[in-house]
Each structure stands twice: as structure tokens, then as C-alpha cells.
């Protein structure tokens, strides 16, 4: 019976552990995840996370779509930072095609990627504060996110599921007044980040809840394949933008915050600092935006301009073949990775030479962060699950695909 459980303090008192189901519909579970907790009083003895409630068959759908039709599906992976997912897949397909995007395209991809990253971090920090009870910081962060979405809407046409990237370029060039629009929003964003900082970072109660909870060690982090803010919080400096630069990250000056203890507070601080660094990156990119075309000029890949499509046979046939048969990507496989908001977002893409991908496998950061949650939670109290689950920023769309 329960005598098999070795606890020093309950050897004399005959108690039974309680099974509590923090079910899929629960206010604190981001997306839908079910955790079956075994509790002894307030302490968690075992936790069994169960995912799959948001599984929509991303990979199966991609196998039946053309290469360009995959982009709307990638939006819905990490739905708080859709542009980063789009650009990751575009990079994978371009590597298989062995073509290079133009410098202007790379710079715009960097800018919009960082804009998306700002949105992701604002949501994570805000939701963390919301679940701990500090409702006001959440709404300030959401105001910041609204500014980001307004900016995204100006450039791409949609607020959340944008489908902005294309293989070989982007859907549209950036708006001509982007620099002015950014300058205005940037001031307000910095104010909001400062406000949230003042409300939370030195707040005794917030520190008590976040410091020392949800700790993961470096060995466990490497073994479980951590990346992004969660990995950097343990002290390992691993940022794909610096280690394996892509897009325009090689020419830009920015710092990567690294934590020390691997607890929730470090992850929160890293996210706050990364927001400021993102603003810095966008400033630099806007200042040195290169001129030139946005799409590369490979006719097998990029749709021709509308004038050519309507006025010449070659243009029309080109357009027709790309749309109907898909971009003919040569056979091969590639694993391409970028630094998304949560960590390393990888696409393992296999092509068989036709216009439909043979396999698109997503290596989502949340799927590799979740299994180690039992290392962070077991032995802690129920109330510690909440900040832990929030700072690892598990997005339901990403983990279930």
C-alpha cells in the first residue's frame, strides 16, 4: 500500500496520495495539455503530461500540398510568432533548391522575425504575470502586442496568421513608411517594457514565486535537447543566431542574455532582455536596409509579375506551372534550423523531386522542452507548476502540430 512510498514525514501518519487531473480545459494550461498529478498534500510526487489535444495533422497535410501551400500550415504551429515559422520553412526549401534570397529579403526577414519574437515574448511574460495574479502587467503586455500586430498588419496584411514568406522571397515588399511607423511604435514599446519591468522584476512577491522554482540542470537541459531561453537560463550560451548565422544576423550587433541558475526567474529575465535586444536588432536593420528586389529572379521558383502573366504566354505558363504543379524541388533531404521564440525550430524536409514535399517534419522547441517537466516539477508544490509551465512557454500548436 502506501508504505511503499518513502517519505520521512509520513511514516507515522497513514495517508494516501491524491490523484488530481489538471485537465485539458484549465485556465493555466497554455493551449490544451493534460497533466495527471499525484499529490501528497501540496507536494507533487509524480506528473504525467498528456498532449495531443490540438493535433491537426500538419505533416500529413503538407504531404498532400504543394511547397507554397505549406506556408499557411506553418503559421499555425507557433501561433504567437507566425513569421518565424514561415521564414524557417522558406529557409529549408531554399536550401534544398540551392538558391539564395536577396539581401533585401534577408533584412526584411530579420526585421519581421524579430517583430514576431517580440510578440511571443510579450505574450509569455504577460501570461505569466496573469497566472500569478498580477493582472495589470498582463494587460500592459497585451497593449504592446497590439502595437506589434498593427505593425504586422501594415506589412503583411494580417495580424496573426500571416503567410508572409514565399520560397525565394516574400509575398510583398515592406511598406514605404515602415521606418516612420516603427519609430513611433518603438517608443511606446520601450515604455511598456519598462512598465512591466517596474511592476514585476523587483516585486517581492513575484521574486518569491519565480526564484528557485522550476530549476533544470545543465546536463538535463542538454540531454533533453533544450534550446532558446530555456537552455540559456541554465548558463549555456547557445543561440543559433550567433552560432550559425542566417538571414542578416551575421552583420548585426546584438547581445544574447544568458542566465545562471536555470530557474523561472532567469527565463523571465532572459525574455525581458531579449525584447530589448530585438528592438535593437530592428533599429539596426531599418537603418541599413539594402535596396534591390525582394524576390530572387529564378523563374522556376518565384511567380512572375502580373503584367507578364497577363500579357505574355511564357509568363502565363510559368505562373500556371508553379501554381498547379508546385515548385519542382530537386530530390534530397535537409535539416534546417532557425532560432524561434522558444528555441530551435527545425524543419527536416525530404523531397522526391516533385512539386509536393515527401515529408515535412517539424522539430518544435516545445515538444522537446515538455518531457523534462517532471524534472522541474516533481518535489515542488502545485503552486509552482504555474510559473514553470508558463516560462517554458509551451504553445499548444507547436507541441501537437
Amino acid at each position: 500500500m502506501t508504505a511503499e512510498i518513502e517519505h520521512d514525514d509520513i511514516n507515522d501518519l497513514h495517508t494516501e496520495p491524491m490523484l488530481l487531473n489538471m485537465g485539458p480545459s484549465h485556465p493555466a494550461m497554455h493551449g490544451t495539455v493534460r497533466m495527471v498529478l499525484t499529490l501528497d498534500g501540496e507536494t507533487v510526487i509524480k506528473v504525467d503530461p498528456e498532449i495531443g489535444y490540438l493535433h491537426r495533422g500538419f505533416e500529413k497535410e503538407c504531404e498532400h500540398a504543394t511547397w507554397t501551400q505549406v506556408f499557411p500550415y506553418t503559421d499555425r504551429l507557433n501561433y504567437v510568432s507566425p513569421l518565424l515559422n514561415n521564414f524557417g520553412f522558406a529557409l529549408a526549401a531554399e536550401k534544398l533548391l540551392e538558391i539564395e534570397a536577396t539581401p533585401r529579403c534577408n533584412t526584411i526577414r530579420t526585421i519581421m522575425g524579430e517583430v514576431s519574437r517580440l510578440s511571443d515574448h510579450l505574450t509569455c511574460v504577460g501570461a505569466g504575470s496573469l497566472e500569478l495574479g498580477g493582472f495589470s502587467a498582463f494587460l500592459y503586455a497585451i497593449e504592446g502586442r497590439e502595437l506589434i500586430w498593427d505593425l504586422t498588419e501594415e506589412v503583411t496584411g494580417a495580424r496573426m496568421t500571416v503567410t508572409y514568406a514565399r520560397i525565394g522571397g516574400l509575398k510583398d515588399d515592406i511598406t514605404p513608411d515602415f521606418a516612420d511607423s516603427w519609430r513611433v511604435k518603438r517608443e511606446r514599446l520601450l515604455e511598456i517594457i519598462d512598465d512591466v519591468d517596474k511592476l514585476l522584476t523587483k516585486n517581492r512577491i513575484f521574486l518569491d514565486r519565480m526564484q528557485g522554482t522550476g530549476i533544470i540542470s545543465q546536463e538535463d537541459a542538454i540531454s533533453y535537447g533544450y534550446s532558446g531561453p530555456c537552455m540559456r537560463s541554465t548558463g549555456i550560451d547557445y543561440d543559433l543566431r550567433k552560432d550559425h548565422p542566417y538571414f542578416a544576423y551575421g552583420d548585426i550587433d546584438f547581445d544574447v542574455p544568458v542566465g545562471t541558475t536555470g530557474d523561472n526567474f532567469d527565463r523571465y529575465l532572459i525574455r525581458m532582455e531579449e525584447m530589448r535586444q530585438s528592438i535593437r536588432i530592428i533599429d539596426q536593420c531599418v537603418a541599413k536596409m539594402p535596396d534591390g528586389p525582394v524576390n530572387c529572379d529564378d523563374p522556376r521558383v518565384v511567380l512572375p509579375e502580373k503584367e507578364r502573366v497577363y500579357n505574355s504566354i511564357e509568363g502565363m505558363i510559368n505562373h500556371f506551372k508553379i501554381i498547379f504543379e508546385g515548385i519542382q524541388v530537386p530530390a534530397g533531404e535537409i535539416y534546417s534550423y532557425t532560432e524561434a521564440g522558444n528555441g530551435e525550430l527545425g524543419y527536416y524536409v525530404v523531397s522526391n523531386g516533385t512539386g509536393n514535399p515527401w515529408k515535412v517534419s517539424v522539430r518544435s522547441p516545445s515538444f522537446y522542452h515538455m518531457p523534462a517537466i517532471h524534472k522541474m516539477i516533481e518535489g515542488a508544490m502545485i503552486a509552482d507548476i504555474i510559473p514553470t509551465f508558463d516560462t517554458i512557454n509551451m504553445i499548444g500548436g507547436e507541441i501537437d502540430r
Partner: protein, 182 residues
Amino acid sequence: MSKSDIKKLGRKFRKVVLDTSERLGMDTALIDKDAVREILEYLRDEEKMQYNMLRHLTCVDYLHRDPRFEVVYVLYSMSNKTQVVIKAAVPEDDPTIDSVHDLFGCANWAEREVWDMYGVDFKGHPDLRRILMYEEFDGHPLRKDYDKQASQPRVELRKTERDAIEEFKTFHKQQPEQGSRS
């Protein structure tokens, strides 16, 4: 340089490394499926290589080819910042391969997903159950012969309520020293 890493691997395990390639910057080695544990352990523990992070574990279904499945391991070395891809071919009539869940912690869930989606059995895995699909799902959805629009049989309502305490007691009797069920 992982270029020489792949070549070193090929020389050391000549019998089981069937092919190596470096196309598109991806250093790939195709190995015999029975040598998976040996090779991954070697790659992880060897001093100059230290491929200690399993970046991705997935499976590809080449429908009209024998062997049909190919389990792919993408490994990364944190200290050398190099990447290597190990592929093991798994035939359809014997879809089993050794599990590496004790070498890399993240392999636990990744292997569950491959089992769920493709039906490749991992020998030695402590808890091989479906992860993304529900328990009563019939079939393995990402196989190429599974129709995208296939419908599933109806799930019968359970006649008795699950008794959570009983479940916990039986589970705990079987595995008293386990951490969580993952």
C-alpha cells in the same frame, strides 16, 4: 570538423556504416539498424566528437522501397558546434529498432511519436504508448498507405469508471522507483 567525423565513423564501424554523404552541407551516415545504440553512444562519448544533443528523431516512409522506413537521428555537438545525421533503415516486415531513451532524455517522447505515427517499435522503451493520437486509434497515420481522409471506428463508452486510486496502486507496484510515467 564533422566532415572528418563522418569519415572517422565510417572507418571505425566499417561493417555497419553502409554509406556516408555530405550533400547540401548535411553530414549523413546510413547505418545498419542493429548498431544504432553502439554508434550513438560512441558519437556521444568520444572525446573529440561529443555529440551530446539529439536535435531531432524522426522517421521517413519510403513506400515503394525495401527497407520501407528510415529512422533519422540528427545529432549536434554543443562543444564543437557541428551536426551529424544518422539514418537507420528499418524494413516493413520487422519494424523494430533499439531505443536510445537512456542515452538522450528527449528520445523518450520522440520515439513515442514515431511509434504513434509510423508503427516502428522501439525495443527497450519503458513506456511505448501513443502520444499525439488517442489510445483507441486504429492504425498509424503518417504511413503513406494511410488515407488522409480515412475514418476511424467508433470508440465504445467505458462501462465502469476508471478508479484513479486503483490505477495508481497497480502502477506503483509495478514500478516503485520510477519518476513520472515519461
